[in-house]
């Protein structure tokens, strides 16, 4: 299980990717930690159940379970927030009006194709808005652990889990490294832990370029 400090490390690194004024949809899990690390940077959070301008969790006495996030948790509204129905919400998502979607993933292939909604062999009974976001957001950031609980790499040559669509992720942020996806494959752009390049190659089994890699851990060199 990933420690809270590693989850925070991923969330902080994703926060660096976001720019002032962007419209952002955050998926469940690690992405929900991101707002804590935005500092002075102002982004507008969209929640697919019908809110633009999502604010933090309310005090207990101000909870209204008809003002909730897509994870069904009580939330607040920021100044300038707006409310709308599900169909308008998905006009935003599917019509290319969301600047960035930050999503979790079960697997990402070497070109950035995502699997984040179904596990083979298990009943497929939930999809939610995941594949709408994959199809429609302008930029897709995947925030997840490098390895699944069984130790297998989530960055893979070829998906073995059901695809979330042909649309590809732009970057993958994990506790060890940040990868960028291009038409030619995967590029390692930053190392965030003391993991060695060899170990990273061994875990993922993916050929990745690393000509411009930034080392953000003091313990290792390129």
């Amino acid at each position: 299980m990933l420690s809270q400090s590693e989850r925070i490390k991923i969330a902080k690194r994703v926060a660096e990717e976001l720019s002032e004024g962007q419209i952002v949809n955050l998926g469940v899990g690690i992405p929900t930690l991101i707002p804590d690390f935005l500092g002075d940077k102002k982004v507008f959070l969209q929640s697919e159940n019908g809110l633009l301008g999502m604010g933090p969790t309310p005090d207990d006495e101000n909870v209204n379970m008809d003002l909730i996030s897509a994870s069904k948790k009580p939330i607040t509204m920021e100044k300038g927030a707006s409310l709308f129905d599900s169909s308008d919400s998905f006009v935003m998502i599917r019509g290319g009006h969301i600047d960035v979607a930050v999503l979790g993933a079960l697997q990402v292939d070497q070109y950035g194709e995502i699997a984040n909604w179904a596990v083979p062999g298990k009943s497929i009974l939930g999809v939610g808005g995941a594949i709408d976001l994959v199809a429609g957001a302008k930029r897709i950031i995947i925030a997840c652990t490098l390895q699944a609980k069984d130790g297998k790499s989530k960055l893979v040559k070829k998906l073995t889990f059901p695809s979330s669509g042909t649309r590809r992720a732009n970057i993958l942020v994990t506790e060890h490294a940040v990868f960028k996806f291009t038409n030619t494959g995967t590029e390692l752009i930053e190392i965030l832990s003391d993991i060695s390049m060899e170990k990273l190659k061994e875990i993922t089994g993916v050929e990745f370029g690393y000509d411009n890699v930034k080392i953000s851990s003091s313990k290792i060199t390129k």
Binding site: N49, L67, D85, S86, G126, G129, G165, R167
Partner: protein
């Protein structure tokens, strides 16, 4: 003109085998009173179109327990383990639809549009068997509109004409489902006189709403509870 009816009379508009559009996201914006009436009725073989099936024993989850349902169409069923179990045992058919496709299909149903092309689902198993078409160099899949025999929705307030306003994110699928049911029944916390809702705040114009029932639950601590 007053569209208010007794909650028990709402069942007169629903029959065996109907397709019901049921508002809500989780339990927020769910017509809990109308669902209680249905759970206590002998109406069977319903197809329910709703984002989820509530929670175990709550909201639409009650209809699962009481055996009113034949099929569920929606985007996320794993939060109700009863739904997963019923599906495994072959007691419930499930049709999984991406949330945005669900919302748009209902919007089209209400707007007199038979179907639409979307990029959502391209390259996934959910696109299997669906017609594809290329527009401006991008591939889209054809999805069919969804309509209901009856929509049962939840709003915060209605006026006696049937104009509706909603509570925050409880609007979710309710506003669009109001347009897509042959008969539309809205459950509300309060009914007010015509003119008491300002035109600027009305979200669902009364043209869509046939009947209004009063919610028997009251809100305490931000949650609907049984009134004592």
């Amino acid at each position: 003109m007053n569209k208010l009816i007794d909650r028990s009379d709402a069942l007169n508009y629903i029959k065996d085998g109907d397709t019901l559009l049921v508002g809500g996201f989780g339990l927020s914006g769910t017509p809990l009173t109308l669902l209680d009436e249905l759970a206590n009725s002998n109406i069977r073989d319903l197809t329910v179109v709703s984002n989820n099936l509530g929670e175990v024993g709550k909201g639409l989850g009650k209809l699962l327990v009481s055996g009113n349902l034949k099929k569920a169409v929606g985007s996320y069923f794993t939060t109700n383990r009863d739904a997963v179990e019923a599906w495994k045992e072959g007691k419930l058919e499930i049709e999984l639809v991406p949330q945005g496709t669900l919302a748009e299909a209902i919007r089209c149903g209400g707007a007199g549009i038979g179907g639409f092309y979307t990029k959502t689902g391209i390259g996934t198993t959910l696109a299997d068997g669906k017609e594809q078409k290329v527009f401006d160099g991008e591939t889209y899949i054809l999805e069919q509109a969804i309509k209901g025999d009856v929509s049962i929705i939840k709003a915060l307030k209605a006026d006696t004409l049937g104009n509706l306003i909603y509570d925050h994110t409880a609007r979710n699928f309710n506003a669009v489902m109001a347009t897509a049911g042959e008969i539309v029944i809205a459950e509300v916390d309060e009914i007010v006189e015509v003119g008491d809702l300002h035109p600027l705040e009305i979200v669902t114009p009364h043209v869509y709403v046939d009947h209004v029932v009063l919610n028997k639950y009251v809100k305490k601590g931000g949650v609907y509870v049984e009134s004592i």
